[in-house]
């Protein structure tokens, strides 16, 4: 009853927003509201809470209008890219206004991250006839130092026998980043608090165009598969302005930039200003024993940065009874390192500040990595208000630090996260 009241309240507000004073005059046939809430936590690192509210309005002319609202709050610490060594290290925060010290044998983490993002995604779906359907949408996403605007469209053709769907999707996005402390100069040396930091400007931009071609095929009365090819081309600013590379001396320890303050020598990263990613995605779904569902997918991706990745994802929906189920989930992800990934730079070999043609990043997300996710979801469906709750564990095994010597730790610290997710249809 309580949930029905919630839906009624949302429905009334929605009808009012559309300028209809009497429900019987409504151009809306029915509405669906879905929500999800995620708690994400990495021990000693990032914590995030993300909520998505999705509303769909089924119009009497068979169009569907949608509005998805996403809010997430991020706080905590993120690896700066500097090496872990057997000595204490001191760094300047991205704003240039503070210092932080990392103890020996601990991963340098910048703990000043705090951000809130809100994203709005309206969409319009029209089924033109029994064969053709189009979706047109847009997204505006804003956070403290980032603005993303995008438009997307998806056209699909359903064959006469309803056994195959061909899909074509396009997205164009324009992103603007205005980081705290401004845009660092490539390979500029981090300076002490109060000193002039190597900065290029206050903001920069990137444009991205995405293409997706897909085929969904019914195999038989119990199974189907999907194959997608996608390409994503981007041009513009690809750096992470908060990531640095340690400058290592002959003794295998960070060079001390300033012996008075103890500031470690670190230079800001520089990535190529364009990227082309391509991927093939296979998904297979099968009903098992007239009630359970096997959902398996594999993605192969590569890009012109030298990254190749494989992702295998399997879910099995095990129905406990008519209205409840358990769904175990496993995901394995493996990626190779980008051509320009390097965990540190040896002193004397670092490119000069502003060397835009040289590329280097110590961001572990561009290094070799194997990721494991396991999870379990419990849910109730086939009821008035379906809901589910899921707990997942994510582990990133980052492997060895290639070329480590002297005081540099030879093994990168693994990153783990716990995720708790709650879904509900109102």
């Amino acid at each position: 009853m309580k949930y029905k009241n919630i839906k009624k309240a949302i429905s009334t507000a929605s009808i009012a927003a559309l300028g209809v004073t009497n429900a019987s005059d409504s151009i809306i046939d029915r509405m669906d509201f879905n929500g999800t809430l995620l708690f994400y936590s990495e021990p000693d690192r990032v914590s995030a809470v993300e909520a998505i509210f999705d509303s769909k309005y089924y119009m009497k002319n068979n169009d569907v209008l949608g509005l998805k609202i996403t809010v997430d709050v991020l706080t905590g610490a993120s690896a700066s890219g500097a090496v872990t060594t057997d000595v204490d290290q001191t760094f300047t925060t991205p704003s240039g206004n503070g210092l932080y010290t990392t103890r020996a044998n601990e991963t340098p983490l910048d703990d000043t991250f705090k951000d809130t993002r809100i994203s709005l995604s309206p969409s319009w779906t029209r089924r033109w006839n029994s064969n053709y359907k189009s979706v047109i949408g847009a997204t505006i996403s804003k956070e403290y130092d980032y603005l993303s605007l995008s438009a997307n469209t998806m056209l699909s053709y359903n064959t006469d026998d309803n056994n195959r769907i061909y899909s074509l999707g396009l997205t164009f996005a324009h992103d603007t980043i205005s980081p705290e402390g401004d845009i660092p100069i490539a390979f500029g040396v981090m300076q002490d608090v109060g000193a002039l930091q190597p900065r290029l400007g206050t903001d920069d931009t990137r444009i991205t165009a995405d293409l997706l071609l897909g085929i969904t095929q019914v195999i038989d009365s119990k199974s189907l598969f999907q194959i997608n090819y996608s390409a994503s081309a981007s041009d513009g600013y690809h750096n992470d302005p908060f990531k640095v590379l340690s400058v290592i001396g002959a003794d295998g320890r960070p060079v001390i930039e300033n012996t008075t303050t103890g500031l470690s020598s670190a230079v800001f990263e520089n990535r190529p200003d364009s990227r082309l990613k391509q991927s093939l995605y296979f998904q297979y779904k099968r009903d098992m024993f007239d009630s359970h569902v096997l959902d398996a997918s594999y993605r192969f991706m590569f890009d012109d940065w030298g990254v190749t990745s494989h992702t295998l994802d399997v879910k099995y929906k095990y129905r406990l009874n008519d209205v409840s189920y358990l769904q175990p989930h496993a995901r394995i992800y493996q990626q190779s390192e980008a051509d320009f990934y390097m965990p540190f730079i040896v002193s004397g070999k670092e490119p000069g500040a502003g060397s835009s043609s040289s590329h280097a990043s110590a961001d572990y997300r561009l290094g070799e990595m194997t990721g494991y996710t396991i999870g379990l979801e419990y849910g109730r469906d086939n009821v008035d208000r379906p809901w589910s709750i899921a707990l997942e564990y994510y582990l990133q095994d980052l492997g060895d630090i290639k070329g480590a010597f002297g005081g540099i730790n030879s093994k990168a610290e693994d990153v783990s996260a716990v995720m708790l997710r709650f879904n509900m249809d109102f």
Binding site: N34, T36, S141, S230, S232, F242, D287, F300, G371
Partner: protein
């Protein structure tokens, strides 16, 4: 190497689909396929969350759709 692998996978997919004439189900056989949990993306909000998380933690994104993006994720 990657291009060849992609071409091989694409060729396999094309061959697979070209032999799809024997695949499919009649309308009266689609009761199971019509179930919400048998749709290709049965949990779109969960997919959206996953795409966002893995986009921000790994060097790959997309595939299933236009996954991730839209943030300066650190």
């Amino acid at each position: 190497m990657q291009t060849y692998l992609l071409l091989t996978l694409g060729l396999a997919a094309t061959m697979c689909c070209s032999s799809c004439s024997n695949l499919g189900a009649k309308p009266e056989e689609k009761t199971i396929l019509a179930r919400p949990d048998m749709q290709v993306d049965a949990q779109p909000l969960t997919s959206a969350l996953d795409d966002h998380i893995y986009f921000s933690k790994e060097a790959s994104s997309g595939g299933r759709g236009f996954g991730g993006g839209g943030c300066g994720c650190n």
